[in-house]
């Protein structure tokens, strides 16, 4: 949908659909995974039809997220290579967090923080997928030492990923005019100029 003919296209429909398949499966995985992690979260099993259904469904949703994330990874990996400017941006992230981003180094389609988040998420998904296999008792019967290691890796990677996604979601809420890019694909020119000036110049030629 084009709200204003001057709006800039940031994501195609395919990119958005891919992102939301990952997003929805992540939410389901976080809720069902937390339910089996700490008794505090056990009531979340009710969302999935009880404890046994939670145990049955979680790994299948995990496979869905792993493959949909792989697709997303291939779509965006080239855009997420770190440059010296990105490292400079990361070094000055405190100014950004303090709410004064006017003097931050010019950013392309993604800033240094978004790029680091991308790679951190890729590592988390890889670790979760690999460590999830020995925990899937319905289909695998691993040596007990491997299962124990996998349980720790799975828990740590999941906690880190939930933290990262919280930051990812919050950043989208905090920076006004961002979420619409993932709903209908466009952003305003002013948004692009303020937050991703190099990308703005590139797509507008200004």
């Amino acid at each position: 949908m084009i709200r204003d003919p001057k709006d800039l296209k940031r994501y195609t429909a395919h990119e958005r659909a891919n992102h939301w398949v990952v997003g929805m499966s992540f939410i389901l995985l976080a809720l069902s995974g937390l339910a089996l992690f700490h008794p505090l979260f056990w009531p979340l099993t009710n969302l999935f039809g009880g404890g046994t259904w939670t145990r049955i469904l979680h790994p299948f949703i995990g496979v869905l997220m792993a493959f949909s994330f792989l697709a997303l990874y291939h779509r965006f990996k080239a855009l997420n290579e770190m440059t010296p400017t990105d490292w400079e941006w990361v070094g000055r992230v405190k100014e950004m967090v303090d709410g004064d981003d006017h003097n931050m180094p010019e950013q392309g389609k993604y800033n240094g923080g978004q790029k680091l988040l991308f790679w951190a998420l890729a590592v988390c998904v890889l670790l979760l997928f690999v460590s999830g296999i020995p925990l899937w008792r319905a289909f695998f019967d691993p040596p007990v030492g491997l299962a124990r290691l996998a349980a720790v890796v799975h828990a740590v990677a999941a906690s880190v990923m939930i933290g990262l996604i919280t930051v990812h979601v919050y950043a989208a809420i905090w920076v006004k005019g961002t979420i619409r890019a993932m709903w209908y694909g466009t952003v305003t020119r002013a948004w692009a100029r303020q937050h991703h000036r190099a990308w703005y110049r590139q797509v507008t030629g200004k």
């Binding site: 001057k6 339910a35 089996l36 992690f37 700490h38 008794p39 505090l40 056990w42 009880g50 404890g51 046994t52 939670t54 145990r55 967090v97 303090d98 709410g99 981003d101 006017h102 925990l135 008792r137 319905a138 007990v144 030492g145 299962a147 124990r148 290691l149 349980a151 720790v152 828990a155 740590v156 906690s159 939930i162 933290g163 919280t166 930051v167 919050y170 809420i173 905090w174 920076v175 006004k176 005019g177 305003t188 020119r189 002013a190 948004w191 100029r193 303020q194 507008t204 200004k206």
Partner: protein, 295 residues
């Protein structure tokens, strides 16, 4: 599986105290390996009392039958031939749940009330609460629990908790023809074991001793071994079993630490928004864009 609801010492995935007003004596089963003849009456009695049957399996050229614990075989005799100084010894061990004082299965279990430890020391699976995740297998230092292919639930020896609850000895104890399996209070069993160890010492087994591993807080199934210095000789009985440090990490510090960290990230985000305000496109930038577009 009987619901002895007043004397629960610990309940899986439960953070508040369990009903524990009734204090009961700690019980134990003592398996004297030195007087076991390998007749498997205990296996038959276990199948009879619990009314479970393994399908007829395969002869793999050994006496062990079935060859491993299964969801239908909660106890299995393990036979091992051990030669030393030109002497052959047939070491036979009745394998099954050890009913640890510090049970790795219960620690790992995510389903509230699927694993119960009674005040008498019995660690019991309540299959109706089991979700079939297999974390108990990951937590167990003795490789005991088995997930059923039929219903996806975990099973193991109950120490005949239903019989014990009404003052009966476990079925295997009843059936043993040589008195190699004894049952009573844990203290009684330790005393009885001491007499057996003394007898074995006098008969030349210098290293005879009681197997009541302290790494898991002691067990409620104990062995008298002629070679207590080398428990591994008895079909891989672990010398120093304990709940793995990885399981301790996963089900110990990781739980509150990860929960607190995740909560903190969420709360910090909220307070960041409240203190710094939203990051909006500035009026200045909007004007500049309009100017550039007009040009």
């Amino acid at each position: 599986m009987a619901l002895q609801s007043l004397d629960i010492a610990r309940r899986s995935a439960t953070t508040t105290p369990s009903p524990s007003v009734r204090q009961t004596t700690e019980v134990a089963k003592l398996i004297d390996v030195s007087t076991c003849i390998g007749c498997k009456a205990c296996q038959a009695a276990c199948m009879e009392w619990n009314d479970i049957r393994d399908p007829v399996g395969w002869n793999l050229g050994m006496y062990d039958n079935p060859v491993n614990l299964t969801e239908n075989s909660w106890t299995v005799m393990r036979f091992s031939e051990f030669e030393e100084n030109g002497k052959l010894e047939w070491l036979i061990r009745k394998d099954g749940c050890m009913h640890c004082a510090d049970p790795g299965c219960l620690k790992a279990c995510p389903a509230p009330g699927a694993i119960i430890q009674y005040a008498n020391g019995i660690v019991d699976f309540h299959e109706e609460n089991c979700i079939g995740c297999g974390y108990c297998i990951t937590g167990c230092p003795f490789n005991v629990p088995r997930i059923s292919k039929k219903d996806g639930k975990a099973y193991k020896c109950t120490l005949c908790s239903d019989r014990v609850a009404v003052g009966q000895a476990p079925a295997c104890v009843k059936a043993c023809p040589t008195g190699a399996i004894q049952y009573g209070s844990k203290e009684q069993m330790k005393d009885y074991a001491a007499t057996r160890v003394k007898d074995l010492n006098e008969r030349g087994y210098k290293n005879a001793g009681l197997y009541d591993p302290q790494g898991v807080g002691g067990t409620h199934v104990m062995y008298v071994l002629h070679h207590a210095d080398r428990p591994q000789l008895y079909s891989g009985l672990p010398a120093e079993p304990s709940v793995s440090p990885l399981v301790g990490l996963w089900k110990g510090i990781a739980k509150p630490l990860a929960t607190a960290t995740m909560a903190l990230v969420g709360i910090a985000s909220l307070f960041h928004y409240i203190t710094k305000g939203p990051n909006e496109v500035s009026k200045e930038t909007e004007k500049e864009v309009e100017k550039e577009d007009a040009a």
